[in-house]
């Protein structure tokens, strides 16, 4: 078993101790690896974001690479709810019920501007819930209108990070559970300004 080492995460002490054909690992590590590699999402498309979710599941973007391509038609078999699309007040109670029907551990991705915070319906939409986090707890927000499939895959990888940080053991001699390790941001979004370059000011000038 290999664990992605691109992020330079600290390996558990027992990982990779011996020669190549001997595999040693912790139960926690093995369970987390199994969980993160078989996130079954629920078929849950509410609006236009669902088209992009389908594209992410199809061959070009291939969500199956992450073991998350098995879209289940029932919440009983799903680990991940990708809320893809506008959630109306009429739908909110159904979203809540479907979330409650899912077995633990369960995760929610809020996909698209509408589910993140109401989106274009924020001010005048009388029918739209202003963010699905008012209805169910959300783990990862994927902004965009709709988000590109790559963005959804990024969100999925952040869910995997979260699963990887899950701890199952307790502190030695006590009953206190060791808290889950929240993943550090993969990238901060901060960009160094190019210092030796003049700022581009007239890029919105109408030329035609």
């Amino acid at each position: 078993m290999t664990v992605s080492n691109e992020l330079n995460l600290p390996k558990p002490w027992i990982e990779g101790r011996f020669e190549e054909n001997v595999i040693t690992t912790t139960v926690e590590q093995a369970i987390n690896w199994a969980r993160q590699s078989s996130i079954w999402p629920m078929t849950f498309g509410l609006a236009c974001c669902a088209i992009e979710m389908m594209a992410a599941g199809a061959s070009r973007y291939d969500m199956d690479r992450f073991g998350a391509g098995a879209f289940r038609a029932t919440p009983r078999q799903a680990d991940l709810m990708i809320v893809a699309g506008t959630v109306t007040y009429k739908m909110a109670s159904r979203v809540r019920r479907l979330y409650n029907l899912m077995p633990d551990p369960k995760f929610v991705i809020a996909m698209g501007a509408c589910t993140v915070g109401g989106g274009p319906y924020f001010k005048w939409g009388y029918h739209v819930v202003k963010g699905v986090d008012l209805v169910v707890p959300v783990d990862v927000y994927v902004p965009g209108c709709p988000p590109r499939p790559e963005a959804l895959l990024e969100g999925l990888m952040r869910i995997q990070d979260k699963i990887r940080g899950h701890k199952i053991h307790v502190q030695k001699g006590t009953n206190i559970k060791i808290p889950d390790e929240l993943p550090l941001p993969h990238h901060s979004g901060y960009v160094d300004a190019p210092a030796d370059q003049d700022p581009l000011l007239d890029h919105q000038k109408i030329t035609g």
Binding site: Y89, K90, A92, S93, Y126, H127, V129, K130, L134, V135
Partner: protein, 175 residues
């Protein structure tokens, strides 16, 4: 065509035809609320008219909540129900309008009433439910007048100009 039809309807229904505009690109005829069912039946059954299709029913709310804007317009606050009719076989169209007060008897909260035309055109069933749901117009004699888009226990009619979004709905923040 519209002028002929108007005089024909006026001859048959008299005072029930309360107004018209035949110069428009879309000529319309205004009908009193009580007479809408008879007029509809006549228009849909008469062989040379045969308006056999109801394209849509619209509810229009004429109200400016801004006082400055309200002073500039020449109408009093009211609501309209607009029926767009077509004849597939005779290839012509017509618009009917019914003008109603915003509230019945001027009492706030009492929905204005107009007879349902669901018995003339089956399409009217869901269209009238939508107008009832969003514009708050009560269609008397409708077979199943329930909300169609909003949840059943929703309060108010969202497309009215003076509608105010509720603060919460079943524990979910509204505004």
């Amino acid at each position: 065509m519209a002028q002929d039809l108007l005089s024909r309807l006026k001859g048959k229904f008299g005072d029930s035809i309360t107004g018209a505009n035949t110069e428009n690109m879309d000529p319309w005829i205004e009908v009193a609320p009580e007479a809408i069912v008879e007029v509809s039946k006549y228009l849909s059954t008469e062989p040379d008219l045969k308006f056999d299709m109801l394209n849509c029913i619209s509810g229009v709310d004429y109200l400016h909540t801004d006082e400055k804007k309200a002073k500039k317009v020449d109408w009093e606050p009211h609501t309209q129900v607009v029926y767009h009719l077509s004849s597939i076989s005779n290839k012509h169209t017509l618009v009917l309008k019914v003008i109603l007060p915003r509230w019945k008897d001027g009492k706030e909260g009492q929905l204005p009433e107009v007879p349902s035309v669901a018995g003339v055109w089956r399409t009217a069933d869901w269209h009238e439910r939508e107008v009832y749901d969003l514009n708050g117009i009560f269609f008397t004699g409708h077979p199943n007048l329930r909300r169609i888009l909003c949840p059943e226990d929703w309060v108010g009619h969202p497309l009215r100009k003076d509608y105010e979004q509720p603060l919460e709905y079943h524990g979910i923040r509204g505004r």
